[in-house]
């Protein structure tokens, strides 16, 4: 138990600290790296809760794909973050004030928290010995939550269509290889026999 409590504190602390670093780091590349660190720690927290599937997904998808993509974007786009921040400095006082008020209010809520009557365990996790985490998720995902699952699928489809619509361009003047047409060419249309007159060239 002690180890669990300790690792929770460690993961949580690092996650929050790296979250702060994401928005304060001067170098945008560092920001993204801290973001990756935050993801790792979140994955650790998931493992502590026994949700190893989610943990792995988080690492694979967010760290492996999303964050790396971010990294590429940040490195390729030449954005002067320092200058962007300058304008923001003017709003620090009011921003800080609002942040503080919100923070104070949230602290008040947490201290006077009245949790749900039976805890948040409306759907208890099956013990790991009976069923793996992945299987348990799969069992409810395609039955009880099939509606939501399909709806998420539609969301992803829209995202995909949207990305293509907004970015894919047909550039003129680009030569593309289309194997079909290449193969389908006949001799008649591609070879021309020319009689070359002496001394004049082709």
């Amino acid at each position: 138990m002690v180890i669990q409590a300790l690792s929770f504190s460690l993961f949580a602390l690092v996650a929050v600290a790296s979250g702060v670093m994401v928005i304060t780091a001067r170098n945008p590349v560092h920001s993204v790296l801290f973001l990756i660190l935050a993801f790792f720690n979140a994955a650790g927290l998931f493992v502590l809760m026994g949700a190893e599937f989610l943990a792995m997904i988080l690492v694979i998808v967010y760290v492996g794909a999303v964050a790396v993509l971010f990294l590429f974007v940040v490195m390729m786009l030449d954005i002067n973050f320092a200058r962007m921040r300058q304008g923001l400095l003017r709003y620090v006082p009011i921003g800080a004030a609002i942040g503080l008020i919100l923070m104070a209010e949230l602290v008040l809520i947490i201290t006077s928290w009245i949790g749900a009557p039976d805890g948040a365990q409306t759907r208890p996790m099956p013990p790991i010995s009976e069923m793996s985490n992945t299987e348990a998720l799969g069992r409810i995902l395609y039955t009880d939550y099939v509606y939501l699952f399909q709806a998420s699928g539609m969301v992803l489809l829209v995202a995909m269509v949207g990305a293509i619509v907004l970015t894919l361009r047909q550039r003129g003047g680009v030569r593309r290889q289309t194997i079909g047409t290449q193969v389908a060419r006949t001799k008649a249309e591609s070879v021309e026999v020319v009689k070359v007159r002496t001394g004049s060239g082709v």
């Binding site: 928290w113 409306t122 539609m154 489809l157 829209v158 619509v165 970015t167």
Partner: protein, 482 residues
């Protein structure tokens, strides 16, 4: 294994399947067939209307309580589907002329409409969020659809960034609610609230505040409205028309369902939020539009104001209040569709124009269109006997019944002030001399039809209002089980 009944969600399933089929057709047939694909999408939406109307009329809960359909859902779904269909029709000519003729446009609208239906039928916080995101994501994309025009992409980006912020608030609210009640299903939340004898814990109230903030963003109520004028102005005009029509109805419906369903017993607790945002919206909508020179921006403020009036009915929190909201939305949709049909016909020398002053002398160059627009504007201003007056009448009456006299008085005042800028447009159309008249051939047949039909509906509402009134009454009753 128990089988999962799919029939209650038939319209949604149909839209999803048909949307994907349309996408496939588009991919294989290419952008040249955008027009026929648009008509096909309209057909798909109309079939969905048919499915909605012929579905179960009573309250049916499906998918383990995540999905609900009842008279309320049917009413709003019909509005949403028709609104989307009309906005596709309005876009037909525009997207061809203005270099937007890509087949994804109608497909994205169909998918956005699917999201709206999911919202309207939401009976669970997760469904609510997914529907909202499905809708919003498609709308972000269409806002930026003219990707080579900086204003369009700016609009899309602004909408996206602020929309993400509002989604964050909404999700935060959902998690607070879940934490306080231990449930995401609306019935379970209502049960948890009832077990607590209607006394809300502070966490729950904060959850409702954040949730309401997220939803207020979607209906563009003050102070979550800031995106509206910029996005309305920047987005391509048919997209603006779409934004002002169907999503507003869906978002208001969702707002109503969440507030009345799980939190019906906490009406005393959430009413101040509604009163505050509704007064703010009515006031801003009335005042800020006065200085506008761009007709789309003016209509943006007008829609903010109109949402304020609709929220008056929700603030009442009674059955007649909800009925007022539904009637108001039905009328608002028709007026807005007609107004945008006019705006979409504004061309000078082959180019779209958006200035209010470009309407000068419209009554001489396009008498029929000027008359139609005048009808919409008089109706928006709330002049009896046009439909807009009755929309306001019902929500204000509901507010008075609920004892919210100051709200009703402020609403009446705001509508008097707001009448000014509507009448100003009429004055410009009828009494100012045209500098450069609008093109004669700008009104396509489909747009002209939308103008004419909307104008007739607005004019004749008071003669035969009972179809709307009775179905709205039924819909409102569905939310208040005796």
């Amino acid at each position: 294994m128990t089988s999962i009944p799919l029939m209650p969600a038939l319209p949604e399933i149909w839209l999803a399947a048909a949307g994907m089929a349309l996408l496939m057709i588009g991919v294989f047939r290419g952008d040249k067939h955008t027009r026929s694909l648009s008509w096909l999408s309209v057909l798909v939406l109309l079939v969905a209307v048919f499915l909605v109307i012929n579905g179960a009329s009573g309250r049916t809960v499906a998918f383990g309580g995540q999905f609900v359909t009842d008279a309320f859902a049917i009413f709003v779904k019909v509005l949403v589907l028709l609104g989307s269909a009309v906005s596709i029709v309005l876009a037909l000519d525009y997207i061809e002329r203005e270099d937007m003729g890509r087949f994804e446009y109608p497909v994205l609208i169909v998918l956005a409409t699917l999201g709206m239906l999911v919202m309207v039928s939401a009976n669970d916080l997760i469904t609510l969020y997914l529907g909202l995101e499905l809708q919003s994501l498609a709308l972000y994309v269409v806002a930026a659809f003219q990707r080579d025009r900086i204003r369009s992409t700016e609009a899309g980006l602004k909408y996206f960034v602020l929309g993400a912020l509002s989604s964050g608030m909404l999700l935060y609210g959902c998690s607070l609610i879940y934490g306080s009640t231990g449930a995401t299903g609306f019935e379970a939340i209502a049960q948890a609230v009832a077990d607590n004898e209607g006394a809300a814990s502070i966490g729950l109230v904060f959850g409702i505040v954040f949730l309401a903030a997220g939803l207020a963003f979607k209906v563009s109520a003050v102070p979550f409205h800031m995106w509206t004028p910029d996005v309305y102005e920047g987005a391509p005009t048919p997209v603006t028309a779409l934004f002002a029509i169907a999503p507003k109805a869906a978002a208001i419906a969702l707002f109503v369902r969440v507030m009345i369903g799980p939190f019906g017993e906490l009406v005393i607790d959430w009413r101040p939020i509604l009163i505050a945002i509704s007064i703010g919206s009515m006031g801003l909508g009335a005042v800020a539009a006065i200085n506008q020179t761009n007709i789309k921006r003016l209509l943006a403020y007008s829609s903010i104001g109109n949402m304020g009036y609709a929220l008056v009915g929700l603030a009442a929190g009674t059955e007649s209040g909800i009925r007022g909201v539904l009637i108001y939305m039905a009328i608002y949709l028709v007026m807005t569709a007609g107004s945008f049909a006019v705006v979409l016909s504004m061309r000078q020398g082959g180019k779209m124009v958006e200035g209010i002053s470009d309407l000068a002398g419209l009554s001489k160059t396009h008498p029929a269109m000027a008359l139609a627009f005048a009808i919409f504007l008089f109706s928006l201003a709330g002049i009896p006997p046009l439909a807009g007056f009755f929309g306001k009448l019902y929500v204000f009456l509901a507010a008075v019944e609920a004892g919210l006299y100051p709200l009703a008085v402020i609403g009446v005042l705001a509508s008097v002030v707001g009448a000014y800028y509507y009448l100003r447009i009429i004055k410009i159309m009828y009494f100012d001399e045209a500098k450069e008249p609008l093109d004669k051939d700008a009104i396509g047949r489909s747009i002209g039809t939308v103008q004419a039909v909307s104008a007739i509906l607005i004019l004749l509402f008071f003669v035969w209002p009972s179809p709307v009134l009775t179905s709205a009454a039924m819909a409102a009753r569905a939310l208040f089980p005796a």
